[in-house]
Structure formats: C-alpha cells, structure tokens
C-alpha cells in the first residue's frame, strides 16, 4: 500500500490532521514605509505564495490584533481589509503568546471541520512608530487616571522590564540563579543572530558584556531585554489531505495547549513558575511525546528570565534547575536543544507580540530550510509563547512526520 492508500485506510477519505503549510514574514527589523496593516498584508501574500494556496480557499481567519498604534488591526477589521470570507473566526488575544493559542484553536477547528484552511496574521510597526522607550516608558504617564486592575499598580511606576525583574529576583532568591546564568541565554541567542543577516543585533556578545551592560531594572540588564523592532508574520493551516499536493512539505501540529495564571504582574500567584506547568504537560500528552523527543525550541525571549521560567515550567528541567541547565550550554548552537535559531526577540525581531515568529521559525527548521542554522535531524520542534507578564502561556509541538 502506498502512503496515500494507507492513510485513506486509517483516517478515512479525508485526513483532517492539522498541518501548517505556508509561512511568510513581512519586513524587519525596521520598515519605516510599512504600517501595521501593511505588515499583515505583506506577510499574508508571502505565506500564500510559499504554499501555493489561492487566497479564495481561505475559509478561516485568526487575528489577535494588538499592534497598538492608531491603526486598528483586530480580527473583524482585518477580515474586511484582507477580505477573508471566513466561516470560522477567532480573535484570541493573550499578548505575545496569542499565536500558540491560535495553533491550538486552529488545529481543533480544522480537525472538527469548522473550516478547512486558516490564515493567521500579525503585523506591527512598533519600532518605526514609537522608538525605543516602550519597555521602560512606564505603564501610565503622570496625571492620567487609570481604571480597572491597573489602578492598583500604576501609581508605583513599575515598568515592563520591572515586572519581569521581580520574577527574576525571586527566582534568584529561592534557587540561587545568577545573572551570569541568565546571560548565557542572551549569548546563545545572539550567536544565532550573527548568522541572520536581518537580525537587528549581529555582533557576538559574551556573558561579561551582558552582566556589564546597563542595569534597567535590577536584576535585569539591557542585554537581558529583547529588542524593539518592526515586523509581521503569517501562517496557513489546513488538513493533511489538502497539503498533499502543495509546494511545501506539511508541518504537523502534534499537540498544543494553553493556560493562564494571571494578567497583571501584581497578581502572579508564584513568581518562580508559569502557566507552562499546565500547558506544557498537556501539549506533550496530546502529542504522545516527552521533552527528550524535542530537537529544538522556539521560546518567547522577551527577557532572559522568560526563557528560564519556560524551560522549567514546560518541563525541560526541574524547577529551580534552569540556571545550571542553561549554563551547561544545551541551548546554544550545536547543543542538544538549540533555542531561537532565528536570533530570537533578544537579538533579531520583536515587534511587540513575537509569538508568530516562534511558529514560523519552527516550521523553517522542520522543513529543513534553515540554512546555516539548520538543526540536524530536526523532527520535533516546540514553540512556547509567553503573553502579558509571564501570564498566558501557549505551547505548540510541531513535527515533520505524520502523527
């Protein structure tokens, strides 16, 4: 029996296993001529061209919006703008992890038959629009009135970096994690960025460079923090059946899950772990895999501490052992678990909500199209997004082989 007949036998006439078939990036790290909606548009065009699916076949659309500028880019506006005739729409917005949740939701919708082919888009002109002060610009400016849960935090002048710094401080206190261990994360990701001609930061750095860079919010230094860039991305999900005669090999969604512990940082129930402790094991259970089966990871690296907490909570090392695990070099080029081969948000591209780039780079690796940074024998990749302030964690396990 050839593979098609075999699948017909086992999965029936329509193999609805969810796959990712097309991916596209707009322009980064700086694209002064593109606004957020143009980033969405360009990324869509490139994702369609990548797989060869005609636009009229798209019958599902997922868009988190959230580009944050004057331009409205929510799901209903973008559906109209791109003219997507969807019969399934999802506007889940969990911050930077939205796109891992989108994989979870899109996979369920495809498996269920709610739609056959889903487009996911994202775009942001954050760098061109706002300059480089976002992370430390404070949540609210003086004199303003702040409503909702933020009214209890805004008077104290915390910054985005400060929120993550509180988690880093507590982890150091409980487990003896050091700034040098966190710095190893930034150093490893930067090495990959030196091999990405488009990355915003391309000069190699050392642990000393990181710990001697300016302190932004103790204990996080400038080089513990992600870049601020422009950028956009899109990916297209469909059935394994539809994927058979497309231009690119399909990447299978093996398991995806998401969970949330809080939104604002003052409500984080435990500053040393994340909702990845729920989402990670669930994604692995759905995939029928364990962390040992994963060949490379795409983790949200808003800050070095984000990666460390995700490593522990998703299950790649025990709680409290993230520091020594990182220091052993596993995440670096040539290590057993390479991290963020595109140069990550720390050194390559972070337009505000980076989660879509985790999916796109994982697909590039699983297709074997990653060039100089290709992970050898890459069969399984895991993307873990962190949205908000370590708040909403989405995990997507992707694979080269039909499950």
């Amino acid at each position: 029996m050839d593979s098609r007949k075999w699948r017909l036998f086992y999965f029936g006439p329509m193999d609805r296993t969810p796959v990712i078939v097309g991916v596209g990036l707009s322009e980064y790290p700086k694209a002064p001529d593109l606004d957020a909606v143009q980033h969405h548009s360009l990324a869509m065009q490139r994702a369609l061209a990548d797989c060869g699916i005609p636009k009229r076949e798209i019958d599902g659309y997922i868009c988190a919006g959230g580009s944050g500028g004057m331009m409205v880019d929510d799901a209903v506006t973008m559906s109209e703008y791109l003219r997507i005739d969807h019969r399934y729409v999802d506007s889940t917005m969990t911050g930077g992890s939205s796109f891992e949740f989108h994989v979870q939701h899109g996979a369920a919708a495809i498996r269920d038959g709610a739609c056959d082919t889903i487009l996911v888009t994202y775009g942001s002109d954050q760098l061109s629009r706002m300059g480089r002060m976002l992370g430390t610009g404070g949540f609210q400016r003086g004199g303003s009135r702040v409503a909702g849960p933020m009214q209890y935090e805004a008077p104290y002048g915390n910054s985005l970096v400060g929120a993550y710094a509180m988690a880093a401080r507590r982890h150091m206190h409980e487990f003896g994690t050091t700034s040098e261990q966190l710095a190893e994360i930034a150093v490893g990701v930067r090495e990959f960025a030196t091999l990405n001609p488009k990355a915003i930061y391309r000069d190699p750095i050392t642990v000393d460079d990181v710990v001697n860079s300016r302190m932004i919010a103790d204990p996080l230094h400038k080089l513990d923090c992600c870049a601020i860039t422009d950028g956009g991305g899109a990916f297209i999900m469909t059935t394994a059946e539809r994927a058979r005669d497309l231009a690119q090999p399909p990447v299978y969604v093996l398991g995806a899950a998401g969970a949330q512990t809080h939104w604002n940082i003052s409500q984080m129930p435990d500053y040393t772990t994340t909702a990845g402790a729920k989402a990670g094991p669930e994604a692995f259970a759905r995939a029928g895999l364990t962390p040992d089966d994963v060949d490379m990871i795409m983790f949200y690296d808003s800050f070095t501490i984000t990666v460390l907490l995700l490593l522990e909570s998703v299950g790649f090392c025990k709680r409290g052992e993230g520091g020594p695990f990182v220091a052993e070099g596993h995440l670096k080029r040539g290590g057993k678990l390479p991290l963020n081969t595109d140069g990550g948000g720390l050194s390559s591209c972070h337009p505000g909500m980076r989660g879509i780039f985790l999916i796109i780079e994982a697909v590039r690796q699983l297709r074997g199209q990653a060039g100089e940074v290709q992970v050898p024998d890459c069969n399984v990749a895991l993307a873990a997004g962190s949205g908000g302030w370590l708040s909403a964690i989405g995990v997507a396990i992707l694979g080269k082989e039909h499950p």
Partner: protein, 144 residues
C-alpha cells in the same frame, strides 16, 4: 493598632486611580490611614486587589482592615523610566509585599537606599493623599 501616618499636602504627579464602585472604599480608607483587603465570608479567602467576587469561590467578599505590616516578597529597582514623574524619582523600588494576613500587594518601598532592600525585609504601610478622599499605600522599613 497603631495609627498609620497619612502624608498630606504634597503635590501628586503620579497616575491617579480612577475610583469605581468597588475600589472607592479602598482608596477612601487609605486616605484615612486604613489599608483594606477583602475577606470572603463563604470560604475564608483573603484577596488583593479588591474585586466584586471572591477569586476562590465566586461569592461576594467583605472588607477587612489589614494590619499594615508585611514583608518584601520580591522587588526590583527601577533604574530607567522615561515617563514623568518617575524619571525624576530614579532609582526607586517596586515591590510585592506579603501581608501578615496572607495576600500580596504591590507598592514602593521608600525611606531606605534602594540597594539596601532585601527579600524578607519587614515593612509597614503609610499613606500618601493624592487628593481629598484618595489615599495611596506606600511602604517603609518596619520600625520595630
């Protein structure tokens, strides 16, 4: 209970909480020198910030006056912030304070060099009046 200091008459340049039906008693109590948390009569849960529901069981919580004493659970020293008025206050400490009663609250720890703040350090609350009927809790090292 010792009375909590309320600092009045200073110009308030920070963002102001927008009082809503749930938060109004909290901010008004702070202006009187009282730190309020919520206690659930149904399940005993205590919580901060104030909400219309108990986060544990969904019932309606009641107000409870906290002692105003706690310890630093975690903190950061903000060294870069371009927003007014905070850029003029650098460096300053933002901390999560674990109250004696259990819940954690966010606040600034003042009256101490930022570099001397430690996790586990005992702190006590004081209030700053942002406007009439609106007090904001701050924290300083405990006296005893």
């Amino acid at each position: 209970m010792t009375s909590t200091e309320v600092v009045r008459g200073e110009e308030w340049l920070r963002p102001k909480p927008a009082k809503d039906p749930v938060s109004t008693p909290y901010w008004e109590a702070a202006a009187r020198g009282e730190l309020l948390i919520q206690h659930c009569p149904s399940c005993g849960n205590r919580q901060w910030y104030p909400r219309a529901v108990c986060t544990a069981c969904g019932e309606s919580p009641e107000w409870e006056q906290a002692s105003g004493r706690g310890t630093v659970h975690t903190f950061t020293i903000i060294r870069q912030n371009y927003a007014k008025p905070f850029r003029d206050l650098l460096p300053y400490v933002v901390a999560m304070i674990e109250l004696e009663e259990g819940p954690m609250v966010m606040g600034n720890v003042t009256d101490i060099e930022a570099d001397d703040v430690q996790i586990g350090m005992p702190v006590e609350v004081y209030m700053v009046e942002a406007e009439e009927g609106l007090g904001v809790p701050f924290w300083r090292p405990a006296k005893s």
